[in-house]
Amino acid sequence: MKHLLGIENLNKDQIMNILETAVSFAEINQRQIKKVPTLKGKTIINFFAEPSTRTRTSFEVAEKRLSADTYNIAVSGSAIQKGETLADTALNLQAMGPDAMVIRHSVSGTPQLLTEIMDCSIINAGDGFHEHPTQALLDAYTIWQRKGGFEGLKVALLGDIYHSRVARSNIYLLNKMGAHVSISGPGTMLPKEVEKMGVTVEKLPKYAVQDADIVMMLRVQNERASNLLYPDVREYSRYFMLTPELLKLAKKDALVMHPGPANRGVEIDDVVMDGEQSVILEQVSNGVNVRMAVLYLLLGGADK
């Protein structure tokens, strides 16, 4: 495996291998000295053409703990603002000889395009409405650690499915691992024929949440004009917010997950977000473990 573009093209064994490898890194992240020399001398560029706190920091922490040299590029402050095309920027970065580039971009398929332009490993950190593979992997790692497996689990995925690359990657992954995904959200936020992805579509969140092992919330993405898809925030939260009452319908030991950043009081109630069943911050910690595993497996040159 040279690139990580999405979950769609991974098989069950590859996913499990990433999760199992992440266990080693979880141990390192518990140590007093959280650094190993594995990627010493490797150069990694983090190119985030969209805002990000969690993913960008998480990748950078992962890279630094593996001893790689990292460089961050944001669109503001880059030559893209002077009118350089993405392809030209990519060629120029390639000329500096990086070993990997982590890319986030608002256009779906950008990471794929870069694999055709550049020689280095490309890691998708979220492209448009397409995929966000490392998010799905860290979600899977969290579920695997907490539930011991995936087979037969019911996962409720609620909110703006249409704009959500997190939803797509998670649906691919959970289906491959044998979990069952039920989705619910405003009709305007469900893609056409989404059931063809192998999910059950419920009109109301309560049916999706009923007896669920995992309740995964998605963010209302106002920067992607989500706000045009529902009348107003109060109406959205009234029907689709994860409240303590809604959560009661899930299994007693159900986990509450959210990829962040969360809109408190819109898609998730404060009480739930900070409650005992919430593993939202655990997801963030696990993100570093999983991203270290991905970098290790990609840059070690396995399958070359």
């Binding site: 490898t21 979880a26 141990e27 390192i28 007093q32 001398g41 290790y296 070359k304």
Partner: protein
């Protein structure tokens, strides 16, 4: 090294011979240990861990002591990681003691170039500064590439770089033996 892929040319040690050698190593270790307090025995993944478990069990029975133990994975400390080999499978390291307070005895099944031991020393050092580090190996097949020497060895054999030396353990491979392939 996959055990089933080895074309066995010669059995170097059978079960009885291996058992006698391990017993002798236990006596040598006890002799060593009697000089030291705060000793931890740490196996190098994966077959060093099995050998370490056997040594620990025998030492604890004979001496009626409890030893600190651990496991170290060297995959992330290899010096050939950037040489384009595939990423070796990793597992977590476990050191459930404060290394600063202990004399650490590293255990592996076969000693060869010395590069594994170097990596293991670096891995241990990342947890802290142990009082000392010693190295114990069942087989020393020579051909060192680094100035590293074992403290206790079960058996020394002469090999060439093309040879493969593989230790089989009941726990993982169904039988105890050492073969040349």
């Amino acid at each position: 090294m996959k055990r089933e892929s080895i074309n066995v040319r010669k059995v170097l040690l059978n079960e009885t011979e291996m058992s006698k050698i391990i017993d002798r190593m236990v006596y040598e270790m006890i002799e060593h240990l009697s000089l030291l307090k705060n000793v931890a025995i740490v196996g190098i993944r994966t077959r060093g861990v099995i050998l370490a478990e056997r040594l620990i069990k025998k030492i604890e029975e004979k001496e009626n002591v409890r030893l600190a133990t651990g496991t170290i994975d060297i995959a992330l400390y290899r010096d050939d990681f950037c040489k384009g080999l595939s990423s070796p499978k990793t597992g977590p390291s476990v050191l459930n003691f404060d290394p600063e307070e202990y004399h650490i005895i590293l255990v592996d099944d076969v000693m060869y170039t010395g590069r594994t031991v170097r990596a293991a020393i670096e891995a241990v050092m990342d947890y802290g500064r142990p009082k000392s580090i010693k190295f114990v190996s069942l087989i020393d097949r020579g051909l060192r590439e680094l100035p590293i020497h074992p403290d206790i060895v079960g058996k020394v054999i002469e090999t060439s770089p093309e040879d493969k030396v593989a230790v089989f353990f009941k726990e993982t491979d169904g039988e105890d033996k050492v073969v040349l392939g």
